[in-house]
Symmetry: C2
Subunit: 537 residues, 2 copies
């Protein structure tokens, strides 16, 4: 993936001229286009990896698989968060890893971790490199050096059990590779995070990721049946079972562990039969609360669609302007405007032919009863065609000097509207106070019996040279509001470094120290991903 | 509950004369009836609770709420496992707790635990007293005394959020009390373990219990959204949220913790709308593998019934003989015999009126396609009428000198038949080798996308004076076979003492030591339920 942005090679998704004009007005942009610096403009510190440590790592993985050239180091020294990209584009990353190590197996990972523990080298596990919460920051804690442990070679489908709907897969396998392999068995994992094109399955499990169709297929933590973890103390594997009452669920400690306890090297995943049919369509409502209430009733009546994108008025306007769902001049845009409604909901079902019809009828009956009007498949096709576009669009926005990010959380149904209002207001106020008025939209993308996720899209004119304090003002305002409401600091991005100062409120002092105690047991010298996830005590 | 068996007061569920004759023949019984000893025949050791410890406990909960009379001590010194009852009936319990303490609140529980940690007193949390895996054995580990901490007064419904389908409840609340309170809001938890009449909700969560309708409503661990735990180090509470990506799931450490980390004092539970209708019915198949395959296909096509009781040939014969599902001479018995099929499956749906019909049609279409014949609601009504009878029937069997127990596990769909055969054979061989031929039946009672639970019912003539080695021979044979197959040592009974020697194989050495490290952090002096759950390292 390109080191300063998203995507491979020359692939870009340009803004439409209309959206560009709309944004320039709304955000008071200056119209200038800023390119990222050239790679050789970045001055890296020399590697701090001692010769003995390097030798031991090379003994673990083979001499060709420990690399310390600039391109490799830089491309493994950040994820893809707004701040990561701002820093990379300016040629000022937050330091760099001292080397990148490429083990080829669980056993090689164990050997690398043992070497690092002995040689005082911190380890940042690297799957798809798509973290947007600082999970890949090259922090060494109190160690002498830091490596990126790239799992690209720990890859492959190990076994498929069709009748039991499970697949055993090595953790570095990319999500699209897994889907392609499952397709040959007429199976699917159905896990499509926005980062799908690059994500590794181990990374998804390590960060508790959620896909665009997770209302139907479930979160990754619901798909994980078993985890194999390599730790500095050896192997820790949870049993791979449909269900168990054998005490606390180890699996749920390893899922979401973000590399601080060890490295996930293998997974047993629940899969599904590959759908014969996808149907995505649009439903319009007057306003967000009405749409939320209709959706709540549908979900609680067992009529949950597989895909839900329920946008509020500002987010709907933004989607229309961006053309992500068709554009004002596109058929959908015209159709939506004709409906004279305020919000758009994309709903989708996947499955066997008759099952899609049966389930769709059930959901749509309830949404109509709740005040929704179906506007057909144009909206669904527009969403589907651009479902992996957002990170590409972000690069275009960064070119134009736009602060762009998504903050997300989850709460109970009764808490949704108050939280949406509070977080939207807090972000808007924080940015307005800096003289950079913001567009803040909200979307429900995942629904549960008891509540829903809320994702806030934030756009504002970036303050050149002040991007980090500006972003932090917005982020802190959102995080403080979320925490005060008792909602979760992350529903699907994970903790990484960006939420590590906030997660303590959610875990409580004894919860935080319990995680730290567990880490101390599995990683006694503290080499595993220091500074991430576990709050300072 | 009566100290030597199940149920309140004089309530009994006598065996039918036909079943009694059938059993006597099959198990070579002598026809004698053995009554339990009188309570005053049990000689207890004097309480080992030091005066200072007792004073401190009384200061924590009030002087009337620390009790050490014989009846209270005896009734809190065992659960309701086969061995527990055999020992109690013989007047030879495995020791006794030194006192029973009744705190009234989370804060009082914290005070009790602090007192116990300071005074070297072990704590066995006591909810409904229904453990069948030795979870209530009065073990003191290396402490000077042991108390039972009865949560009966930490009870009550704290809050109901109807639109979010959640209830906040104190842990000592009995399951039937919670259901009655929820009924007033037109809600239900839908959690009906065999122990429902006496179980506490905290006990259900602490042991990861599963209810008879859990294929539909979910296991208790799927219903728990948040847990409040009192530990010797203070409060540890997991956030109460629909879903989160905020690192490892603390909730999943506290659920299933069986009192070894602390005491669950409160829960936020997901509930459901109260069903307007229940429909339970019977389907017959030629044999178990055919029925399993039909059920697998239905479950994987999203046609899971809420209730599934899929019995193999021996278990079906046993049910017919016992009359649990109607008896040979009852309408169901005649109906089943007329069908000339080998196995009976009870399936049930609960919900709104049209939803039950719609879901039933879907399931039944697939079961018929898989070789099933519907035999109507007589079978369903017979099951429903006797769904909480088994522990009462067990008392009758104990009166007649019968070894009776259920061993259970879960595995993947592809593993079901081989595991059923292996475990059935292992139990039968172990008991036959002692000259006590056994009846061993198997039932699938909970189904998942990737697999199912297997519950083995074992009946044999008990060997007087040798009940424990006889039982252990059967139990060890079953456990060794389950473990060797990589299946779970418990799908719904928990670990307690009886599975503590086996769970290590499932957790692995590092998994076991991780739980021990976590326990050492939360319970540094080791007072919490010593000897349970965590395998010896």
């Amino acid at each position: 993936m390109r080191w300063w942005g998203w995507g491979l090679g020359e692939r870009r998704i340009p803004l439409t001229p209309g959206f560009e004009r709309w944004l320039a007005t709304a955000l008071e942009l200056d119209g200038a286009v800023r390119a990222p610096v050239e790679l050789d403009a970045i001055a890296l510190e020399p590697t701090a990896l001692a010769a003995r440590a390097r030798e031991r790592l090379e003994a673990s993985v083979g001499p060709g698989w420990v690399r310390a050239d600039d391109v490799t180091r830089i491309s493994h020294s950040a994820g893809k968060s707004y701040l990561d990209l701002v820093r990379m584009r300016a040629g000022t990353p937050q330091g760099a890893v001292d080397a990148v190590v490429y083990p080829a197996s669980h056993e090689e990972v164990l050997a690398v971790l043992a070497a690092c523990a002995a040689e005082r080298v911190a380890v940042v596990p690297f799957g798809g490199g798509t973290s947007i919460v600082g999970g890949l920051a090259p922090l060494r804690g109190d160690q002498d050096a830091v490596i990126s442990l790239d799992l690209a070679r720990v890859a492959g489908i190990l076994a498929v059990d069709g009748p039991s709907l499970t697949v055993s897969v090595a953790a570095g396998t990319r999500a699209p590779v897994l889907e392609a392999a499952l397709a040959e068995h007429d199976l699917t994992l159905g896990h499509y995070p926005d980062s799908f094109e690059f994500a590794s399955v181990g990374g998804c499990a390590a960060t508790r990721s959620v896909g665009q169709a997770s209302s139907g297929y479930g979160r990754i933590d619901q798909a994980v049946q078993g985890v194999r973890l390599a730790t500095p103390r050896g192997e820790l594997s949870s049993a791979a079972l449909p269900a168990s009452a054998a005490g606390p669920a180890l699996r749920e400690l390893l899922v979401g562990s973000e590399g601080v306890l060890g490295v996930i090297t293998g997974l047993l995943l629940r899969v599904r039969m590959r759908p014969a049919r996808h149907r995505y369509e649009g439903v319009v409502f007057d306003d967000f609360p009405t749409a939320v209430e209709a959706m709540r009733i549908a979900v609680q009546d067992r009529a949950t669609p597989d895909v839900v994108r329920l946008t509020d008025v500002p987010q709907t306007r933004l989607l229309m302007a961006a053309g992500e769902s068709g554009g004002r001049r596109a058929p959908l845009g015209r159709q939506f405007l004709r409906s004279r409604r305020g919000v758009l909901v994309i709903v989708g079902w996947e499955g066997q032919l008759d099952a899609v019809d049966r389930r769709r009828l059930h959901t749509m009956t309830l949404l109509r009863r709740g005040g929704g009007d179906a506007i057909g498949e144009t909206a669904g096709r527009a969403w589907s065609a651009t479902r992996f576009a957002p990170p590409y669009v972000r690069d275009e926005l960064l070119d134009r000097g736009v602060l762009v990010d998504q903050f997300e959380t989850a709460t109970t149904w009764t808490g949704v509207e108050a939280l949406r209002t509070a977080v939207t207001g807090a972000i808007a106020n924080a940015l307005a106070a800096r003289g950079t008025p913001a567009l803040v939209g909200c979307q429900i993308s995942h629904v549960y019996l008891t509540g829903a996720s809320l994702t806030f899209t934030v756009l504002a004119r970036a303050q050149p040279g002040e991007e980090e304090p500006q972003w932090r003002a917005a982020k802190d305002a959102a995080s403080a509001t979320i925490t005060a409401a008792g909602a979760t600091i992350s529903h699907h991005h994970g903790i990484g470094r960006d939420h590590a100062d906030w997660v303590g409120a959610e875990l409580g002092p004894l919860g935080s120290s319990s995680l730290a105690a567990l880490k101390a047991h599995l990683d006694p010298t503290g080499v595993m991903n220091p500074g991430k996830l576990i709050p300072a005590l």
